[in-house]
Symmetry: C2
Subunit: 159 residues, 2 copies
Amino acid sequence: MSKAKIPQNLQTRKSTLDEIDARILSALNSDARLSISELARLVGMSPPSVSDRIRRLEAAGVIRGFTVDVDTRAIGYQIRAIVRIRPLPGKLHLVERLIQERPEFIECDKITGDDPFLARLAVHSIEQMDDVLETLSEHAVTSTAVVKGTSVKKRLPPL
Amino acid sequence: MSKAKIPQNLQTRKSTLDEIDARILSALNSDARLSISELARLVGMSPPSVSDRIRRLEAAGVIRGFTVDVDTRAIGYQIRAIVRIRPLPGKLHLVERLIQERPEFIECDKITGDDPFLARLAVHSIEQMDDVLETLSEHAVTSTAVVKGTSVKKRLPPL
DNA sequence: GTTGAAAATAGCACGAA
DNA sequence: TTCGTGCTATTTTCAAC
């Protein structure tokens, strides 16, 4: 008689990165356009293996995609700001839609606490910032903080 | 007499993207690993031109780099949180250093307002979150909001 | 910006551990 | 399963226009 196949816990399989996966992720995090061959050299493997691993990381949901890091100031958006947004009673979904429809909001999280939304804004000028906030003013209370600089650039937690 | 050469404003030159640059940036934003040839097809140009444009966008500081979008939850960091941090008098720089040294802080902006820092945290558990905040507790006042979800995924403002 | 040729690379099928 | 090798098609890069 043959032994029955025991399926591994999905969560565990997905979230377990070995040393090599970690090196690949970290290299891709520094430069997502590295060629497969260069990655292969960096981690000491053959190109097809690296290619496979990347595909697996994507399939497991670890890699959500590859993107370009654009400096918004270099394209004319001189001001970045963080906006805490507290919709008036009954206006939660309306406000969420308004945020999504305003392309100056370049990021928005739903969070716990008094203010349900925390959004990031990129604008050309104070006037434009005011204009954006104005569209929310009858439906939500906002508090805005201008970004002066960066202490920690977006990075990966320890792998 | 010949007309004198009038140098263009640097700022203007750098920040002015034409239609094609915009298409390239937007395509790279969706998938930073698109091949040059594929990009060339998308924008209707030859590969060397596209290659040049990307190099120029990097040189101009518009493109800061290419990175991978990793789902922190898929690698075991089940909790993300936003932390507002107000250092006690005289402890601004100490606190900034503490934030930078803690790899669980995966992002931190310096902002205007009562709380000088706004940081993003990724942790495995509430216990780990508490541990991280504990390291700041004697030097700063913090308020923490857990991220429940995303209303707007990171996106580019209009080009 | 384009073209064309040389070098590097990616993708695939296959076999090995 | 996961990894490596060898082949072919594609891609990148550089020079010249």
